[in-house]
């Protein structure tokens, strides 16, 4: 079996006695996946990413990248990995080209032409000889992405790659990542706050909250969340559920911080919600709310993390 691109087992990081930044995260990202790692600020995303890159030592558990145990000094491994960790930075006194040339040398790439190619790919041509200190946040982010992709990495680890980019830049990065995965065979492990982008891009999503991985969604689950459904709220949810089952529907409970609702995905429910209302009223449990909803990843994320907060 091919080794995973990323595999962690009970990965934890504790700072001092009080801060458990990452709490027993176990995940596996297969080759060719675009895995999105979602979480609120301080959820443990960046710490996890730093542990995957050997920048932070786990307190317990283990991490493997491209089939090798993560160590700070692993030249063969790191030559096959690209990364952008947190905010984009560059040497302010060096030009875009010089910054990339520094990265190229440190990556052990002898072909100097790779710098020009990556400058063109990231649309940095007109800024080639501009010092990094004069770049806008968006172009600094492009420079950081250019650096991360210089070595055509097998694994690209990105922490908020769309930070600072304008909408056109976000789309460009989306296309670049798609291209890297589809054509280049790379695996992408990324965190992002732009959930609409993640929804469009990711093949799998992991949601981390308070250091714990609380849910993973594969592409089927992601698609399912995007599909419309009829949400039903009622004062007596158990009675409403029983009435719907008796009526031939297949209600599914949806837990949220605000309470439990039922969801129906059958086309007949979506096409004629009034029939559902009539059925419930006839059963003596009229609905308090009936709405066709289409949960975005953002909605799902907020609901899930909200539930965790409430718990």
């Amino acid at each position: 079996m091919t080794s995973a691109a990323v595999e962690t087992t009970d990965l934890s990081k504790r700072y001092g006695a009080d801060v458990l930044a990452v709490d027993g995260v176990s995940l596996r990202v297969d080759r060719g996946e675009l895995y999105a790692f979602l979480g609120l600020n301080g959820a443990g995303k960046s710490t996890t990413i730093r542990m995957l890159l050997g920048m932070v030592r786990p307190t317990s558990g283990s991490a493997e990248v491209l089939g090798q145990a993560v160590r700070a000094e692993a030249p063969d491994l790191w030559a096959r990995v690209g990364h952008l960790v947190e905010s984009a930075t560059a040497y302010p006194e060096l030009t875009v080209r010089e910054n990339l040339d520094v990265a190229r040398r440190l990556l052990g790439i002898h072909d100097g032409a790779v710098v020009s190619r990556v400058i063109d790919r990231l649309g940095l041509g007109q800024y080639r000889d501009r010092r990094a200190r004069t770049l806008s946040l968006g172009n600094l982010q492009r420079l950081a992405l250019a650096r991360a992709t210089l070595n055509a990495p097998e694994l690209l680890v990105l922490d908020e790659p769309a930070n600072g980019l304008d909408p056109a830049g976000v789309i460009e990065i989306r296309e670049l990542l798609r291209e890297l995965v589809a054509d280049g065979g790379s695996t992408v492990f990324m965190s992002s706050h732009i959930l609409a982008e993640v929804d469009l891009l990711a093949t799998r999503v992991g949601i981390v909250h308070r250091g714990r991985l609380i849910e993973e969604l594969d592409s089927e689950a992601l698609r399912r969340h995007r599909d419309p459904r009829l949400e039903v709220a009622a004062p007596d949810i158990a009675a409403a559920e029983a009435a719907l089952v008796a009526g031939g529907y297949a209600p599914r409970r949806l837990e949220a911080a605000s309470g439990t609702t039922l969801e129906l995905r059958e086309p007949r429910a979506l096409q004629a919600p009034e029939s559902v209302a009539a059925l419930l009223a006839a059963a003596g449990t009229p609905p308090s709310r009936l709405a066709i909803a289409r949960e975005t990843l953002e909605d799902h994320f907020i609901r899930l993390t909200g539930m965790e907060e409430a718990a």
């Binding site: 730093r50 030592r57 000094e73 030249p75 790191w78 040398r105 440190l106 990556l107």
Partner: protein
């Protein structure tokens, strides 16, 4: 050490393109110029007073206006000035990666962290030596322009030896500054230590214990305790050992610390 050549090339480019090493060079260039000014004042105190170079009641107790005084002053100034300015350079070379948050670009790559630390130390050393060579040349140039008496080839050779030895020993101690800049994740800790070390060195030199404190040894070699004060070889060994331990600890810290910046 994996990638040392690459690390050296990139560190050298960064140093060349930054203003900081050039500011250190410019700052250090004041040393021979000030020594030359003192020589002018010593040679003609009354003329200096008329020109406003010396206050009406001020006296200069530096000696006489000749080559031995000029070169001795230069050596001591290099020892003390080098302790500050080389530490400034080192704090920048190491600390800037934390202040500019560029450190993460140096980690998780095929170039080893040890190579990066060693390359930084080598670049500091190379810059330090280049600056020292420039100071020596400028010092002799200023002395010639001022027209100092008392020149001898033997004196010049001995002075150059003392200046270069003092500079080399100061440079040898810089890995400790680099370690402190790294652990302190910025410029301040290394610089603070440099200032504190000079103060401690002054006190210990006065107490006659300077030879036991590595940061006092460059000053002793430069003649700060008098031209006849011998510096034991063990003191030189202590300086080199301190620098080596500093380098090993700096490499170990870069390898083992949690890099969260």
């Amino acid at each position: 050490m994996n990638g040392l050549r690459a690390a050296l090339a990139t560190e050298w480019l960064k140093a060349r393109r930054s203003r900081v090493p050039w500011l250190v060079l410019a700052g250090f260039s004041l040393v021979p110029l000030v020594c030359g000014l003192f020589m002018v004042i010593l040679r003609d105190p009354e003329g200096a007073r008329r020109l406003g170079l010396l206050g009406a009641k001020a006296q200069l107790a530096a000696g006489t206006a000749d080559w031995p005084t000029m070169l001795s002053m230069l050596a001591q100034a290099v020892a003390v000035g080098g302790a500050i300015l080389f530490a400034f350079l080192t704090s920048w070379v190491f600390g800037r990666e934390f202040a500019d948050r560029t450190l993460r670009g140096l980690l998780a790559g095929p170039t080893s962290r040890g190579a990066i630390v060693v390359a930084k130390a080598i670049v500091v050393g190379a810059w330090g030596l280049a600056i020292t060579a420039w100071i020596v040349v400028l010092g002799f140039g200023v002395g010639l322009v001022v027209g100092l008496p008392g020149w001898s080839g033997a004196l010049a050779a001995a002075s150059v030896r003392d200046i270069v030895a003092a500079a080399l020993l100061t440079i040898a101690l810089q890995p400790v500054t680099g370690l402190l800049a790294s652990v302190g994740r910025g410029y301040i800790a290394g610089l603070a230590w440099a200032v504190l070390a000079i103060a401690i060195a002054q006190v210990l030199a006065v107490l006659g214990l300077g030879a036991a404190f590595p940061w006092a040894v460059p000053g002793l070699i430069a003649g700060a305790a008098g031209p006849e004060a011998a510096v034991p070889l063990a003191s030189v060994g202590l300086v080199l050992l301190t620098g080596a331990v500093g380098l090993v600890l700096a490499v170990a810290w870069w390898r083992r610390a949690d890099h969260t910046g």
